[in-house]
């Protein structure tokens, strides 16, 4: 029953052994990784099928809050299943150089799984750091001068975030004396003071480095335009969502007050404004997508700042939508990375890619039948129902951002579909491998279009479950408590 | 011949490490001793190829005695050095006339030269700066005003230690 721990242990084990394996046989290196990812997918899906209600697992047999526990509900298992899936899609099958990149990717997978499952604040921090360091290595893997410089800035900004997050964790520990998220939730009243709230702000900004939150996203355009598109797709698509997941867990469990929501709302709005305006100005596809990714994550944050189930549902919908669309878009930039005005005639050289671009762009803008529209609709109705001055401002910002988004995406699409000179065509041809993967993302998007009703139902179920604070606390702390803690817990209550 | 030397070498390393382990743990319980034997064996096996420094050791009872006379001589020198330094530091006029000069040594083994250099560092008013071939560059805090020759400096600074060290090292 306990084998979800394999989702963390297995990729780490393989990554540790990969240098030894690769010195034995080079070919084994290439297929060990995907095999492990398949196993992880299987473990996650096996749980997903049997899970009726949330479950907590005590690692090492030490009951929470003393030990570390994994919290398994639909949301975390969904993420745990998406991680190997995305990794399998974006795995460097054609890499012949060595084992290091594969090793880093496996470490990333393990860290991401841990981050999705963990129910302990400091454990989350550890996995977050593992995620960071692995992504540093991947971002620098291109080994160009610009990649090194960009990664250096990424490391520094991340390091700053680390310090802030660690400070926040230390503050929470001084206030509550515990690290388990559920236990913190139980003691949430002690965090409803300036110290507790600033701890939340510090953690949001610290973890927000990966989630591309407004003040700490200076690294985004640089890293995404110097790293290879697959890595950008992974970072923008998957990793940022995991950071967001951590923030909403903390929000749901420990910070029910309105100040925390306001903080998220303001940060989200600033992110939308900055991201979309910069995307509007950018002259090449990679940076345009990077900035629009910042804007999209701002929207996700705004969605989560809406109190109640509605916000949760909208946020998860936006997250999943972005998770499918953005990697597909990044994969298209491999050979379309010139300035946008040189993209003339791209549609003639590879029509499928042009079609995919159109599909992704329309869904991102939110043109009616496409999934992006439904996600945005959820968000807009949520904002309208919240009915507070700040939320109305957010609505205005959101709609304006959509217009801007439509403008730059559609003018790019016009360039792509307009007629160009013949000699460019070869350069603009997409590599079949990336195109295949992008097509898969497009197919997923279209498939979602035809299964809207069951998806919506599942979404609502997930949202209700994961926005239920008392359920989360009960799940973790209903394991048999050690007597001392039980006494303290009852004292606090 | 080489093998024999190697065996000596290994045994010396092993017993030194075991002694260090026993001193560190401060107990001779069975489990600690077993762990110590394992650790000492592993360490001496790993480090033996890299360490050529124990070549010049004389393995004889006389050597053991001269180790102790050396230690006694050394500690006396160390204490004298400190009172000397205390006198210099505390006297208001700061009576120093520092000088860099060389001394010569007849010790051949690296370990012996190193011990000599270290001893010079810890004795009255001298500090070994550089050791190369068989010369030691010494900073002397109270060199005579009129300058000294190599032989004189060697006699003043190094000979005493050298006599004792050569008892157990080549």
């Amino acid at each position: 029953m306990n084998n979800i721990a394999f989702n963390v242990a297995l990729p780490l084990l393989t990554a540790f052994l990969l240098p030894i394996i690769s010195s034995g046989s080079k070919s084994a290196t290439r297929f060990v990784g995907p095999f492990v990812l398949l196993a992880m997918l299987w473990f996650a899906l096996a749980y997903f099928n049997v899970l009726q209600h949330p479950v907590a697992i005590a690692l090492g047999g030490f009951l929470p809050p003393l030990g570390i526990s994994f919290h398994l509900d639909n949301l975390s298992l969904l993420m745990a299943a998406l991680i190997p899936l995305m990794m399998l899609l974006l795995w460097p099958y054609n890499n012949r150089e060595g084992f290091r990149e594969e090793s880093l990717l496996l470490l990333l997978a393990g860290a991401a799984s841990g981050l999705a499952l963990s129910g302990d604040l400091f454990n989350i921090y550890v996995f977050y750091e593992l995620l960071s360091v692995a992504s540093f290595g991947l971002a620098a893997a291109n080994r160009t001068a610009a990649a090194f410089a960009a990664t250096f800035r990424y490391v520094i900004i991340s390091g700053l975030g680390t310090v802030l997050a660690l400070t926040g964790i230390a503050l929470i520990y001084t206030q509550t004396g515990t690290l388990n998220l559920a236990h913190i939730g139980l003691l949430a009243s002690q965090l409803n003071n300036p110290v507790g709230l600033s701890a939340f702000a510090l953690i949001v900004i610290g973890i927000g480095v990966k989630a591309e939150i407004f003040p700490v996203n200076g690294w985004v355009p640089e890293v995404y335009s110097t790293a290879s598109p697959r890595i950008s797709a992974l970072l923008a698509g998957l990793i940022s969502k995991l950071a967001v997941l951590v923030i909403i867990r903390l929000l749901v469990v420990a910070y029910q007050g309105s100040q925390a929501l306001t903080l998220l709302l303001v940060l989200g709005m600033l992110g939308i404004i900055w991201g979309e305006l910069s995307a509007w100005h950018s002259k090449d596809l990679k940076r345009m997508f990077s900035f629009s990714s910042i804007g999209q994550l701002g929207m996700v944050l705004v969605a989560f700042s809406i109190p109640g189930d509605a916000g949760m549902a909208a946020g998860i919908a936006m997250m999943l939508h972005h998770l499918v669309v953005k990697p597909g878009m990044f994969l298209l930039t491999e050979n379309w990375n010139g300035p946008i005005k040189k993209l003339k005639g791209a549609a003639t050289s590879s029509p499928l890619a042009a079609f995919l671009f159109m599909l992704f762009a329309l869904s991102m803008i939110g043109v009616p039948p496409l999934p992006g529209f439904w996600a945005k609709l959820l968000l807009v109705t949520g904002l309208v129902e919240a009915n507070a001055p700040l939320y109305i401002i957010a609505l205005v910002v959101l709609l304006t951002a959509t217009v801007i988004e439509a403008h730059y995406l559609m003018s790019t699409a016009l360039k792509i579909f307009s007629r160009g000179k013949k000699k460019h065509f070869k350069k603009l041809l997409q590599t079949p491998f990336n195109l295949t993967i992008a097509t898969i993302f497009g197919a997923v998007l279209l498939a979602a279009l035809f299964t809207l009703t069951p998806l919506g139902n599942k979404l609502n179920q997930i949202a209700t479950e994961s926005s239920d604070r008392s359920l989360y606390i009960k799940t973790t702390l209903s394991l048999k408590l050690p007597p001392q803690v039980k006494q303290q817990v009852s004292k606090v209550q | 011949m080489l093998n024999r030397l190697n065996l000596h070498h290994h045994l010396f390393l092993f017993s030194t490490m075991l002694l260090l382990w026993v001193l560190l743990t401060g107990s001779i319980a069975v489990d600690e001793l077993i762990a110590g034997v394992i650790v000492a064996a592993v360490v001496s096996l790993i480090s033996a190829p890299y360490i050529t420094i124990f070549d010049g050791i004389r393995y004889s009872p006389m050597a053991l005695i001269s180790v102790f006379t050396y230690l006694g001589y050394f500690f006396i020198a160390l204490i004298r050095a400190n009172f000397d330094m205390a006198r210099r530091v505390l006297s208001p006029s700061l009576p120093i006339s520092p000088e860099l000069l060389e001394v010569e040594t007849h010790l051949e083994s690296k370990l012996g030269q190193m011990l000599l250099a270290n001893s010079i560092t810890l004795t009255p008013g001298t500090l070994s700066v550089e050791l190369r071939h068989n010369r030691i560059l010494v900073h002397w805090i109270a060199a005579p005003e009129e300058g000294v020759s190599l032989e004189q400096a060697t006699k003043d600074i190094a000979t005493g230690f050298e006599k004792h060290i050569s008892g157990f090292l080549k």
Partner: protein, 163 residues
Amino acid sequence: MTTNLIHWLLYGGAMGLIVIGIVGVVTLTNIFRIILALVIAEAGANLLLVIAGYRFDAIAPILTGQALSAMPTTQIMVDPVPQAMVLTSIVIGVGVQALALALVLKVYKNYQTLDLREIHHRMLADIDHSSGVISLLSEEQPKGERPLPEPETKNVLNSGGEK
């Protein structure tokens, strides 16, 4: 009273280290010094974490001597959890710093400067160049002839960032 004063001083000191470090990271331009500032900030955060478990007049959470047999011990001990966390976060910090230093080596090798602004400019120019966008910078200084600064930073440690 003294206990409170000590607590306040400890927290204040830790916060002060964090602030010094972060101000350094944000304002300095020499990339080597930025790393050092980051180290200071991390030290501050670790200190904050470890004094979260501090108690006045308590001993280290290790059982020795008579305490081994008489359990649970009567002596006051400090909180072991923050100590374990600090161990973890120090090791994490070391890893990140080593990686950052490796990147500094490579960046310095490629751009021959330690000034972050300069590096940032060149990096943006490189990105523009590789994506074919002609930026302002590379118009002023035609491709391939970006002048290198004087190699005055011969010694990374001593010369610092006075530029």
